[in-house]
């Protein structure tokens, strides 16, 4: 009896050792950095180390909203964040549909070609994307040269400088860069669909569209939902590289999202404490969003995703 218990105990130790490396990694890379949050409660300025006489409590949190101008600024930033995240959420079905249609291409060579071409932009850095955008859209770029050559306009149009439809244009760039990559997940899911289902449907006389609608799409939906939920939890993080390279004085009012705002505040002249304070708020809101969507998912689908 005792032996059995000991063996069980030994096994549980062993199994604990299996996951220990991962726990250590999580602790080092996910929990240890949280210590940096203390900077939000101090008047921090490098190279002076933190000391208790510089402790300021919640001053930096309050300073985010202590004047109407600042409130206005934060609201604008939030509006941009929500608009851009909302837009990509609204169109989040796009890679899935793209994957389905890609899968329908019969010629294997052509399919591989399309997939490679659409996946490649994912590996180009945003800085390079901007230089492509600049050479295509600047006043002497390809687009303006063509339009002027055709006599459609007489003065060059300043595409990069305009603040019209910034959110949509940003979504277009993001889609151009990411659609192929995002479709990979769905292509994998597609290959997991039982071929028998398709065959049975075909024998029953279902058209191609019907097969997609009644078989392919429902089989992809679970994957889609999980990805949407994760996106929802990440609602406040649009990343900053894209907006950093595309921002200029003319479109900043519409392009400055939360991550970029934090960067612009901190890196210019070392407003470390304030930007940490904003990041903390962001993390807390993200955590709440994650819990809310998980509960929603439990209510709607009967199972959570975490």
């Amino acid at each position: 009896m005792n032996l059995l218990k000991d063996r069980k105990k030994a096994r549980s130790y062993r199994e604990f050792l299996y996951i220990l490396p991962f726990l250590v990694l999580v602790a080092i890379f996910s929990y240890y950095p949280l210590y940096g949050w203390v900077y939000a409660f101090f008047d921090y300025k490098p190279p002076f180390p933190l000391s208790m006489d510089k402790f300021v409590g919640f001053k930096w949190f309050k300073s985010i909203v202590d004047s109407p101008t600042k409130i206005n600024q934060v609201l604008k930033v939030l509006r941009n964040t929500f608009a851009i995240s909302g837009l990509s959420l609204m169109f989040s079905w796009f890679p899935m549909v793209f994957a389905i249609f890609l899968n329908e291409i019969k010629s294997k060579g052509y399919r591989k070609f399309v997939q490679t071409v659409t996946t490649l932009p994912n590996f180009i850095s945003w800085v390079l994307v901007y230089s492509i955008a600049f050479s295509v859209l600047s006043s002497t770029g390809a687009v303006n040269s063509i339009l002027m050559g055709l006599g459609l306009i007489d003065t060059p149009k300043l595409f990069l400088q305009s603040s019209n439809n910034v959110w949509f244009r940003m979504w277009l760039w993001l889609t151009w860069k990411n659609a192929g990559w995002a479709a990979i997940m769905y292509i994998a899911a597609l290959s997991g669909i039982d071929e028998e289902l398709n065959e049975a449907a075909r024998i029953d006389g279902a058209s191609k569209i019907q097969i997609i609608w009644y078989i392919t799409l429902p089989s992809l939906l679970p994957t889609y939902f999980v990805l949407v939920m994760l996106n929802l939890a990440n609602f406040l993080s649009n990343g900053m590289e894209q907006f950093y390279v595309f921002q200029n004085s003319f479109n900043k009012e519409y392009i400055q999202v939360l991550d970029l705002y934090v960067y612009n505040i901190a890196m210019g002249s070392g407003g470390y404490s304030l930007s940490v304070a904003i990041s903390i708020l962001k993390s807390i809101v993200s955590l709440i969003l994650l819990c809310v969507t998980n509960t929603l998912s439990k209510l709607v689908r009967g199972e959570g995703f975490i």
């Binding site: 490098p46 009012e253 210019g268």
Partner: protein
């Protein structure tokens, strides 16, 4: 209560970690400085330390705010360092790595073996014990002791310093704090001589007159020779907010044309009073409005707000720009050949202007070199040997003139002659015997000099800068230069300015100004962003009404971010500098 206790426990725990991880190393306690040996100040009577043989190759880490290259120095200058001192320079450049590296390196307690910092940061680093006290050794460095007065004057200004030496200013000169030795000033209107004389060299009364001239140039030559569209103005946003001035970099430089100088959020006027940048009667508004008018007349490159510096430079060297305003811009166009052909850029006076210029940087340009506090004794000796060598005439010739026999040569008459004056621009391949590689690629990546190029080379009695060599000037006496001299009655632009009393020279002083508090730095940053964004949009405004509406909206927004507080802070800070300048000017009289 419980929560409070928990928070405080957590904070204490975090503090413990912070002190464990981020503490500075124990200060070296050599607090009894031996009296400086005064007799070693004559550079001739002691062996130059560069002559010492070091048989072990040493890598020196250099934290360098001036560098725009990160990594180990390579090419011909690396060979110079190896041959003379047997060292290798590993440069850490915040301009490349990002400003946050300053925060991580300072909290690790080791910024670098040799550090080059802005003044106020340097004072902070001295206060936190990151910089070594070099009092004992520096007096034994003959080449550095040429600048003894300047070095001592600087170190006295470090807050809380009692007679010790920590830092060496850079870009010092051996002229005087009141003199202006250069032929051109940093910012002045410069036009293409061929395009200007094509119009009959008209007199330019004011900024509107300048616009008329530029508009005529654009009408005559809407494109460059290759057919690319050309504009009088091509601006770039990368430099905005730099150089201790709020606002668009291209605008703030132009404010010096009216004797005003922007000091962060305030403008120093010729009558020695300060006014906020947002003052509608001051020069920032005036110049911004000037650029807006230019834009409305189609004289501004439409890509100005979105192109980067490299793109702008490419346009300069392609001849797509008709107005230069930084003295360095001519480097992208003027060449010996173009000076001979008469199509080079040169200063053309505008009658109502008064030009502001900072005098020779006798006390240094503002940045400081120091030694990291954690270097060991052996490394320390080698570093001091390097710094002393770096200030020696031999090293200055490498830094300012290049390689003897390659970029310049010494004639039979003992005078120095320029051999290739475009070696840097063309990145000429260097022969293997001098280290190989491209000339520009192997150029000194420290990118800052202890001795300024305008200083006199004791070997020749002329400035180090090749442009001031008598041999170079003789060879540059082209038809164009003669025409210019005849038209304006002066040999060089600065001669013209001095003669007509339109040059305002601000004396160079040695002073350490207090740095920003965290609150002020946040306000500064946020106001700067608003100012820059609105400024760009104002340049592209449709009419005066839109321009003024934007200006008012901008002022309102900046006030909402605490701009008035910032102005008060800057006024106080720069009054200290102003006072020192007044005293310097009086004592020189």
């Amino acid at each position: 209560m419980k929560l409070k206790k928990l928070i405080s426990t957590l904070l204490v725990a975090a503090m413990v970690i912070a002190t464990l991880v981020g503490c500075a190393p124990a200060k070296q306690t050599d607090s009894t400085p031996t009296p400086p040996a005064a007799s070693t100040t004559d550079p001739t009577d002691s062996t130059p330390s560069s002559g010492k043989a070091f048989d072990k190759l040493l890598t020196i880490e250099n934290y360098n705010v001036a560098a725009n290259y990160q990594g180990v120095q390579s090419g011909w200058f690396a060979k110079v360092l190896k041959d003379n001192l047997n060292i290798e320079l590993n440069i850490i450049a915040p301009q490349v790595a990002g400003g946050a590296i300053y925060q991580t390196r300072t909290s690790s307690g080791n910024l670098g073996d040799i550090v080059l910092l802005e003044r106020s940061d340097f004072a902070d680093c001295v206060a936190t014990g990151l910089i070594k006290d070099i009092t004992n050794e520096i007096y034994n460095c003959p080449n550095l002791m040429v600048f003894k007065d300047q070095i001592e004057a600087y170190n006295k200004t470090i807050p809380g310093n009692d007679g010790k030496i920590y830092g060496i200013p850079v870009e010092m000169t051996n002229t005087s704090p009141m003199s202006y030795s250069q032929d051109v000033i940093y910012s002045s209107p410069m036009l293409r001589w061929d395009l200007y004389s094509e119009l009959g060299c008209p007199e330019i009364e004011d900024l509107d007159g300048l616009l008329d001239v530029l508009a005529a140039m654009k009408e005559n030559h809407p494109t460059n020779e290759n057919g690319d569209p050309a504009y009088p103005f091509s601006l770039w946003p990368d430099w905005d907010g730099g150089d201790g001035m709020m606002g668009i970099a291209n605008v703030v430089q132009l404010t010096t044309w009216y004797g005003e100088k922007i000091k962060q959020s305030v403008i120093l006027k010729p009558d020695n009073t300060f006014t906020p940048v947002t003052d509608k009667n001051a020069s920032y508004y005036k110049i911004l409005h000037f650029l807006n008018k230019a834009q409305r007349r189609g004289l501004v490159d439409p890509d100005s707000g979105t192109q980067d510096w490299d793109t702008a430079c490419a346009k300069m060297s392609n001849g797509q720009v008709y107005l230069f305003w930084y003295s360095w811009q001519v480097g992208f166009w003027n060449s010996t050949e173009r000076l001979k052909n008469g199509n080079a850029f040169i200063f053309v006076p505008v009658k109502d202007q008064l030009y502001y210029a900072d005098s020779d940087s006798y006390y240094g340009s503002g940045r400081i070199i120091g030694v990291g506090s954690s270097v060991d004794a052996e490394k320390y000796e080698r570093i001091m040997a390097f710094l002393d060598w770096y200030a020696s005439p031999d090293a200055c010739e490498y830094q300012h003139n290049g390689i003897e026999g390659f970029t310049y040569e010494i004639g039979a008459d003992g005078r120095y002659y320029v051999k290739y004056d475009n070696a840097l621009m063309d990145n000429l391949p260097v022969p293997e015997e001098w280290g190989g590689g491209g000339y520009n690629d192997g150029f000194n990546k420290f990118n800052q000099w202890i001795v300024a190029a305008i200083s006199t080379n004791p070997k020749t009695g002329e400035p180090y800068s090749t442009q001031y060599w008598s041999t170079y000037k003789e060879s540059m006496m082209t038809q164009m230069k003669k025409e210019w001299a005849e038209r304006f009655g002066a040999a060089e632009p600065v001669d013209y300015m001095k003669k007509n009393n339109v040059l305002l020279v601000s004396p160079n002083v040695s002073i350490t100004l207090p740095g920003d508090t965290p609150d002020i730095s946040v306000i500064r940053n946020q106001c700067m962003e608003v100012l820059n964004d609105y400024s760009w949009r104002m340049i592209f405004a449709k009419d005066d009404a839109e321009f003024n509406a934007m200006w008012d909206q901008m002022s309102k927004e900046m006030d909402g971010l605490g701009f008035q507080q910032l102005v008060e802070f800057d006024k106080e800070v720069y009054s200290i500098e102003l006072q020192a300048k007044k005293e310097a000017a009086e004592s020189a009289r």
